[in-house]
C-alpha cells in the first residue's frame, strides 16, 4: 500500500556550520556549537549562552537574494538549507520538474519580534496607575514605529512563502508548529502526502530561532534551560545525571523527499528511504510528560509498524532490527528519563543493545527545526557507518541506562547502519517518530 518515498537531497544551517559533510565531521569529533549569546546582552540572564548560527549569509546559497531582503531569520536559514537540498537532489539541473507536483511541508517557527520598536511601543503607552496599555496611544506609537514588511515576516508561514518563491513550488504547502516536534511531523506528513499521491516531491524540514530576549526569557521562566553559564560548552548533557535543562540552538534542516519512481525516472539518487512515521498526543498535561512515556511509545510503535519491524525481534546475526535511535534527548531531567523508559517499553530486553544518542549535546536544541537536522544525522549514519556521540555524558544516571554512544563517535562500518529511528517530542505532548532505512532497489 502506498508508494515508496526516498530522500534525494539534504541541507542544513546549524550552529556547527552550513554544509552537511563538514558539519557531520564536526559532530563525529564531538564539537560543540555552544557559546555566549551575542544577539543581545544576556549577561544577567540566568542562561546567557546558546548555540548560535555563525557566519551565515543567505546570498552564499541563492541567486536573487534581493527577493528575500525582508526575510526574517527563519526564512533565511530555510532558504540556505533548501538550496543545499535542491542541489544535492540534482533539481538544479533538472528541467522537467512539474512544479504543481512539488510541494512544501515545513515545521518552521514563528518569526522574531521587531524587538526594540515593539518594546518602545508598549512602554510608551503603558499607564502605571491603571497597570494597562492605553490602546489609543499604543496605536499611535505602533503606527510610527512598526513597519508592515517586518511585521508580516513574523508569521510562521513565511518560510514557506520564501521557498515557494525561490524554487517555484506550486504543490501542496503547509507549515506546522508543534513546538519541538514540528519538523519531524512536517517530514512525516510530507511523506504521507507523497505516499497518497498528493505530490511527487516535497521540500520537508524546519527552521527556527528562539535566540531572542523573549524566547530565552520564556524558557528560563519554564525552568527548561540549562543555567551552567560557567561551563557552557558542556552544559548540554543529555542523559547525564547532572543534566539541568536544554541549551537553545537555532538553524534549519531541509530535505527533498520524492516518490521513488519519480526520483529514478529523472536519474535522482536516493540517499535513504523513509519507511515509517508515527504521531501521537500524550493528552496528559501541558507542563508535564506522561510519566511512562505512553505518547512516545505510541509514536515509535506506529513508525515501526508502518516500517514492518517487530521491535522485539533480532536479525540472523542476533542484532536488533533498529540500528540507531536519534533521541529527542533534550537534557532535561524529565525528558531523558521518560524517553529512556519509553524506549525500554517498546524494545524490551533489546533496548540496551540499541545505540541511542542525542546530537543536541553538540547542536543545542533547534526547537521546531530539531527533528529535521536530526533526521539528516540518521541518513548520514546510514551513508557513512558512523554514529554520532552523546557528548558531556560523564555521570551515568541509573534511570538512563541505555547505550547512549557516550562522548565518542562509534564506527559501525563493519556491520553497517541500516535502520534508524528519529524521535521528537513537543511541549504540550505532541510526539513524532520517523523510521529511515538504507535504500535498496
Amino acid at each position: 500500500m502506498g508508494r515508496r518515498v526516498v530522500i534525494t537531497g539534504m541541507g542544513w544551517v546549524t550552529p556547527l556550520g552550513h554544509d552537511v559533510a563538514s558539519v557531520w565531521q564536526r559532530l563525529l569529533r564531538g564539537e560543540s556549537g555552544v557559546g555566549p549569546i551575542t544577539r543581545f546582552d544576556a549577561t544577567t540572564y540566568s542562561t546567557n549562552f546558546a548555540a548560535e548560527v555563525r557566519d551565515y549569509r543567505v546570498e552564499d546559497f541563492i541567486q536573487r537574494p534581493e527577493a528575500h531582503r525582508h526575510a526574517g531569520l527563519n526564512s533565511r536559514f530555510a532558504l540556505g538549507a533548501a538550496a543545499q537540498a535542491w542541489k544535492q537532489a540534482g533539481l538544479d539541473r533538472f528541467t522537467g520538474l512539474n512544479r504543481r507536483r512539488m510541494g512544501i511541508y515545513l515545521g518552521a517557527g514563528e518569526g522574531q519580534l521587531d524587538f526594540d520598536p515593539f518594546v518602545a511601543t508598549n512602554l510608551a503607552s503603558w499607564k502605571a496607575d491603571t497597570r494597562a496599555i492605553n490602546t489609543v496611544k499604543w496605536a499611535e506609537e505602533a503606527h510610527r514605529r512598526l513597519a508592515g514588511n517586518r511585521e508580516i515576516e513574523q508569521e510562521p508561514n513565511m518560510a514557506l512563502s520564501h521557498l515557494a518563491a525561490q524554487f517555484g513550488c506550486r504543490g501542496p504547502a503547509s507549515n506546522c508548529l508543534t513546538a519541538c516536534a514540528a519538523s519531524t511531523q512536517a517530514i512525516g506528513e510530507a511523506f504521507e502526502l507523497i505516499r497518497h499521491g498528493d505530490a511527487e516531491a516535497m521540500f520537508a524540514g524546519g527552521s527556527h530561532s528562539m535566540i531572542h530576549p523573549l524566547g530565552i526569557t520564556g524558557f528560563i521562566r519554564l525552568t527548561a534551560l540549562s543555567s551552567r553559564s560557567d561551563s557552557c560548552l558542556t552544559a548540554a548533557r543529555p542523559f547525564d545525571q547532572t543534566r539541568d535543562g536544554f541549551v537553545m540552538g537555532e538553524g534549519s534542516g531541509m530535505l527533498v523527499l520524492e516518490a521513488l519512481d519519480h526520483a529514478l525516472a529523472r536519474g535522482g539518487k536516493p540517499l535513504a528511504e523513509i519507511v515509517g512515521y508515527g504521531s501521537s498526543a500524550d493528552a496528559f498535561r501541558i507542563t508535564d510528560i506522561q510519566p511512562e512515556g505512553k505518547g512516545a511509545q505510541a509514536s515509535m510503535t506506529q513508525a515501526l509498524r508502518q516500517a514492518g519491524l517487530d521491535p522485539r525481534k533480532t536479525d540472523a546475526a542476533d542484532r536488533p532490527l533498529v540500528h540507531y535511535i536519534s533521541a529527542h534527548g533534550t537534557g532535561t531531567q524529565e525528558n531523558d528519563k521518560i524517553e529512556t523508559a519509553a524506549v525500554r517499553a517498546v524494545f524490551g530486553s533489546l533496548a540496551p543493545r540499541i545505540p541511542v544518542s542525542s546530537v543536541k549535546s553538540m547542536f543545542g536544541h533547534l526547537i521546531a527545526a530539531a527533528g529535521a537536522v536530526e533526521l539528516i544525522t540518521c541518513v548520514q549514519a546510514i551513508l557513512t557507518g558512523y554514529l554520532p556521540p552523546t557528548m558531556n555524558l560523564a555521570t551515568p544516571d541509573p534511570e538512563c541506562d541505555l547505550d547512549y554512544v557516550p562522548n565518542k563517535a562509534r564506527d559501525e562500518r563493519a556491520r553497517g547502519v541500516d535502520l534508524c529511528l528519529s524521535n521528537s517530542f513537543g511541549f504540550g505532548g505532541q510526539n513524532d517518530t520517523l523510521a529511515v532505512r538504507r535504500f535498496t532497489a
Partner: protein
C-alpha cells in the same frame, strides 16, 4: 483503498453566537456581528469595527471542573478552540473524557488512541498588559528593555520574574490542539497547522488523510483565532487588508465580497471545529452525518509580493488547489452546486480568487451560488476554515443556502450579491481559501 470520511459534528463560536445553530440562524437571517470593538478602545486605529464573540465569556464553562485552573494559561485563541471542540463533541453525540464526570473514562465512544486532532492556529499575540507590566520594571528612559535589570543573575534585578512561569505556554500555537487533546483524551495523531487563513482547511485536509489511511477513526479538526487585539489589528491595517471605518457602525456595509469598490475586510474572532469520522465507524454508532468528504486539494500560489496578493488578478495557487480537490474527488467543475470561498472583501485578493474560479468553472461560474460569511462574522484567519466547513455542512444537511449580506454590487455577474436565504438542491459544495503567504486549500463536501 482509502476509507471514506464524514462530518458528524459541528462546533462553532463566533460573533453570531456559541454553537452552530446560532451561526446558521444568524446567517440565514442575514445578521452581522461586525460592530464597534468593545474589548479595548480602538479609536487609535482607522479600522474600529470587528466581530467579537460576545456571548462567549471564556473557556471556564467548557472544561471539566478539574481542568478549570488550566484556563488561566489559555490565550483567547485557545479558549475559542476549547469551546468549539466541546460544542462539536456535543453536536456529534460523542462521549469523551471531557464529557464525563471528572477522571472517569468508562464508556467513551472511542479509545483515546483512535482520536486525532488537527487544529489550525495563528501567531498568537502576547497580551500587551501582562507583558508590559513586566517590561516596565526594567525600562530605560529611552523606552528600551534594560537587559541587565531583566535578568536575575550576575547582578540583574530579575525583572523577568514578573512574567508568570508558564507565560510562554499561553501563546504557543500548538496549545490549541494540546488542550483539546488533554480535555477529550485524544491520543492519536495531533498537529497544528499555521498557514494564516488557510490553516483551518489545511487542517481538515490533513485530518481527512489521517482517517483515510487508518491512523485514526475520528479527528477534531478546524481552527481558531482571536484577532481582535491591538497587535493583529495594527498588522492587518498597515499591510492594507482592513476597511477604514469612517462613520460606519455596521461593518456589513463595508465588507463587500467581490466588489471592486469594497474598502477592505474586517477581523472577527472565531473557533470552528468539526468532527471528522470514518464513515463505517460513524454508521456503527448510529451517528447523524451532515456530509461526506468528497475530495481535498492544496497548492501554493506564484509569488506576487510576499504578502501573497496575486498581482495579476488571477491566483494560480487557488485554482490549482481547487483542481487538485476536484481530481481527488473524481469530479468535474460541473458537479459543484455552491461555493464557499474566502471572499474577504479585499479587492486585490477577491480578484485573484474570482479569476481562479473563472479559470476552473468557466462561464458557468455565474450560475453557481456563492456563500459568503465575511460580511457577517469577518475574517477569522485560522478560525475561518472550520467555520466555512461547518456552514457548508449545514447547507448540505438542510438543502438550503443562507442569506447573503452585501451592500454593493459584485463584479462580473458573480452570485455574491445580497439575497435571502432559500432552499436549494445541493449535492456538492466547494469550500476554498487562500492565505496571506500564498498557501491554498480546497475541500469538497457531498450531501449524504
Amino acid at each position: 483503498m482509502d476509507r471514506t470520511v464524514v462530518i458528524s459534528g459541528l462546533g462553532t463560536v463566533c460573533g453570531l453566537g456559541v454553537g452552530v445553530a446560532s451561526l446558521w440562524d444568524g446567517l440565514c437571517a442575514g445578521r452581522t456581528a461586525l460592530r464597534r470593538i468593545q474589548r479595548f478602545d480602538p479609536s487609535g486605529f482607522s479600522t474600529r469595527l470587528g466581530s467579537e464573540a460576545r456571548d462567549f465569556s471564556g473557556a471556564r464553562d467548557w472544561v471539566p471542573k478539574s481542568y478549570r485552573k488550566a484556563v488561566k494559561v489559555m490565550a483567547r485563541d485557545i479558549e475559542l478552540a476549547v469551546c468549539a471542540a466541546k460544542c462539536a463533541v456535543e453536536d456529534a453525540g460523542l462521549v469523551t473524557r471531557g464529557t464525563l464526570p471528572d477522571d472517569s473514562t468508562a464508556g467513551t465512544t472511542y479509545a483515546g488512541s483512535r482520536m486525532g486532532c488537527q487544529i489550525g492556529a495563528g501567531l498568537i499575540a502576547a497580551e500587551a498588559d501582562e507583558l508590559t507590566a513586566a517590561l516596565a520594571t526594567a525600562a530605560t528612559p529611552d523606552l528600551k528593555l534594560d537587559h541587565s535589570a531583566w535578568g536575575s543573575a550576575r547582578g540583574g534585578k530579575g525583572a523577568m520574574n514578573n512574567l508568570p512561569p508558564l507565560w510562554l505556554l499561553k501563546y504557543l500555537p500548538n496549545m490549541l490542539a494540546c488542550h483539546v487533546t488533554i480535555i477529550h483524551g485524544a491520543e492519536g495523531p495531533s498537529n497544528t497547522i499555521t498557514c494564516a487563513e488557510a490553516s483551518g482547511l489545511l487542517s481538515i485536509g490533513e485530518s481527512v488523510r489521517v482517517i483515510q489511511r487508518g491512523d485514526a477513526d475520528l479527528c477534531f479538526s478546524g481552527g481558531a483565532e482571536a484577532p481582535i487585539n491591538p497587535m493583529r489589528l495594527l498588522r492587518w491595517e498597515i499591510i492594507g487588508r482592513l476597511a477604514p471605518t469612517g462613520d460606519e457602525d455596521d461593518g456589513s456595509r463595508l465588507v463587500r465580497p467581490f466588489d471592486p469598490a469594497s474598502r477592505g475586510s474586517l477581523l472577527g474572532e472565531a473557533g470552528g471545529i468539526v468532527i471528522l469520522e470514518d464513515r463505517e465507524s460513524a454508521a456503527k454508532r448510529g451517528a447523524r452525518v451532515y456530509a461526506q468528504v468528497a475530495g481535498f486539494g492544496a497548492a501554493h500560489s506564484s509569488p506576487g509580493d510576499m504578502i501573497g496578493d496575486a498581482g495579476s488578478g488571477m491566483d494560480d495557487g487557488f485554482q490549482f488547489a481547487i483542481e487538485n480537490a476536484l481530481a481527488d474527488a473524481g469530479l468535474s467543475a460541473g458537479d459543484i452546486d455552491a461555493i464557499v470561498p474566502h471572499a474577504l472583501g479585499v479587492p486585490a485578493v477577491d480578484a485573484g480568487e474570482a479569476g481562479a474560479l473563472r479559470a476552473v468553472f468557466g462561464p458557468r461560474l455565474e450560475a453557481i451560488p456563492i456563500v459568503t460569511i465575511s460580511p457577517n462574522v469577518g475574517d477569522a484567519l485560522a478560525g475561518n476554515g472550520g467555520l466555512a466547513a461547518a456552514v457548508a455542512s449545514k447547507c448540505l444537511a438542510e438543502q438550503r443556502l443562507p442569506a447573503r449580506v452585501h451592500a454593493g454590487t459584485p463584479a462580473n455577474g458573480l452570485q455574491a450579491g445580497a439575497s435571502e436565504s432559500r432552499p436549494a438542491r445541493l449535492r456538492h459544495i466547494l469550500v476554498a481559501s487562500g492565505a496571506i503567504g500564498g498557501q491554498n486549500a480546497a475541500l469538497i463536501l457531498r450531501a449524504c
